[in-house]
């Protein structure tokens, strides 16, 4: 533990801010990627009739039941330059994913996928089939129907999905630790910093991180519940 001099305090503040910025950057990027990815996946899961759908559904939901360390382990294996994929990345594109922000981001997208897809999937499923069909009979394409009819009517599901994904990514620990390690400014997010500070018996710093995560998560979940309460079920009858 460093002595509490003024300079050390200043350094700690910088590190604190850096870690928080990284945490929110990771959560923001993960959520942004996942909304773009999750909408088509949820749409496909709702309206596709292929026989392999249960397999895809299971794969999407796997991160909910698997220990983060399992996902982290597989991601590391895939990223490893000893693997053809990792080798291809490092040889052809000169990209290294293990222990980098981008590597953590990809792992985090995969790990949070069900938290985005499931609320959206439930939202689409709650809409009667006739809404989509009515739009088709009125001559509207699938794309127009998606943006003008389906999406506006699952607004509360979209908000829930975004808030859940964001909150879940902020709270992620295992995958980030496995894939990213604990590199300040690169992969050290708040949840890992808490663990690190506690190990170092630096309870003041751990407390600051913990309080911020607690408050952010509380605000996000409150948003979800108030949105779902004010948004009346959009029944037609």
């Amino acid at each position: 533990m460093l002595p509490p001099t003024e300079e050390n305090n200043h350094n700690m503040d910088i590190q604190f801010i850096e870690t928080l910025i990284l945490t929110f950057k990771l959560a923001f990027c993960t959520t942004a990627i996942l909304i773009l990815l999750g909408l088509p996946v949820a749409y496909w899961l709702t309206y596709s009739r292929t026989k392999i759908k249960p397999v895809i559904e299971a794969l999407v939901s796997m991160p909910m039941v698997l220990p983060p360390s399992v996902i982290g382990y597989y991601m590391l294996t895939v990223y490893s330059p000893q693997n053809w994929f990792g080798a291809c990345l490092s040889d052809v594109f000169d990209v290294r994913l293990a222990f980098t922000f981008n590597g953590v981001l990809i792992a985090s997208v995969i790990f949070s996928l069900p938290f985005m897809v499931q609320p959206l999937h439930n939202g689409f499923r709650s809409l009667p089939a006739s809404l989509r069909e009515a739009s088709f009979t009125l001559g509207k394409s699938k794309i127009t129907t998606f943006f003008k009819v389906l999406l506006p009517n699952i607004r509360s599901s979209v908000i829930t999905a975004i808030a859940l994904t964001f909150a879940h990514t902020i709270g992620e620990f295992g995958v980030v630790l496995m894939v990213g390690g604990n590199m300040p400014g690169e992969t050290r997010v708040a949840s890992i910093a808490i663990y690190d500070e506690v190990q170092a018996l630096n309870f003041d710093a751990a407390n600051r991180y913990a309080l911020i995560l607690f408050i952010v998560s509380l605000i996000l979940l409150t948003t979800i519940y108030s949105v779902n309460k004010t948004n009346e079920p959009w029944e037609i009858r």
Binding site: P128, S130, L131, E133, A134, S135, F136, T137, L138, G139, K140, S141, K148, V149, P152, N153, R155, E232, W234, E235, I236, R237
Partner: protein, 295 residues
């Protein structure tokens, strides 16, 4: 307009509450007619409408509308619903909850035209609700919006799935007039699913009676529904609401479309074939003999 006849010749295995049935329909619908699809639930009426709209794909067969092939299993043609130029009114109305009444209509138009939308809304008496969302409308108002929306794209074929099922008798009469007027005014071919004999008689120029997936009868309503040749002067279609078995005579109470209540005397033998809720026709076959004293 002879070329806008719709030829239907399709087969489709459908699952109903009573098990699998084979929907097998072969018929021609002349243009400009108001055709009622009549029959018990699960007979395949809605499926037939969905097949015509392109929302359900038949197992095999052919559909042609106005000389254009909509579906041909042999040639693997299946025109999507977007390109069939139809109006479809769903049983649950399927109004878009995120849009106001006016926006629902504008969405349906091929080219946005607020004036035309307003005209349509005033025809249906919906002007004061134009800025309301569907969630804030009554059942009858929703049905009118759904009907107006189905018409907004000026379809060559209008498909109505039990358009007047959930409105009260008075509103039903008003909406029947509306449909009738629309039909006369636009000369659109209309196919309408109905369970309601009174409605069929009031509106339809042709009836297709479907039972267990096949056409049992078709033709003008009077012919389709009169197993007995009715020669009387008065015919009222209605529904049995009460049966009183009593001495010396059984009384059957029937309500007609315009909520007239008619009491009819029936013999025990007549009652064997009649049940509460049955659709019936009340008619006089001849003048009843009346005795009056000669002075």
């Amino acid at each position: 307009m002879g070329d806008t006849v719709i030829h239907i010749d399709i087969h489709k295995q459908i699952h109903t509450a009573d098990g699998e049935i084979d929907l097998s329909v072969k018929t021609d619908i002349p243009s400009g007619e108001l055709v009622a699809l009549f029959g018990p639930s699960g007979a395949g009426k809605t499926t037939l409408l969905r097949i015509l709209s392109g929302l359900t794909v038949p197992d095999q067969g052919k559909i042609e509308c106005g000389g254009r092939v909509w579906f041909d299993s042999g040639r693997k043609i299946n025109v999507p619903p977007q390109q069939r130029n139809i109006g479809y009114m769903f049983q649950d109305y399927a109004l878009f909850p995120n849009m106001t009444v006016l926006e629902n209509i504008l969405f349906a138009q091929r080219a946005k035209d607020v004036k035309a939308a307003d005209d349509l809304l005033s025809v249906f008496g919906l002007n004061e609700f134009r800025m309301r969302k569907p969630g804030k409308l009554s059942g009858g108002q929703k049905q009118r919006v759904a009907l107006a929306r189905a018409l907004a794209c000026e379809p060559q074929l209008l498909l109505l799935d039990e358009p007047l099922s959930s409105v009260d008798a008075q509103m039903r009469m008003a909406l029947q007039d509306e449909i009738s007027r629309v039909h006369r005014h636009l000369e659109t071919t209309i196919l309408m699913v109905s369970h309601d004999l009174e409605e069929v008689f009031r509106l339809a120029s042709l009836v297709i009676q479907i039972e267990n997936g096949i056409i049992k009868k078709s033709g003008v309503p009077e012919l389709v529904f009169s197993d007995v040749q009715v020669g009387g002067k008065v015919q009222i279609a209605g529904r049995i609401v009460r049966i009183d078995r009593q001495e010396p005579a059984n009384i059957v109470t029937v309500t007609s479309a315009n909520n007239q209540i008619i009491e009819v005397v029936a013999s025990d033998r007549d009652l064997d074939a009649l049940n509460l809720g049955d659709q019936v026709m009340v008619f006089t076959k001849a003048f009843n003999p009346v005795i009056s004293k000669l002075c």
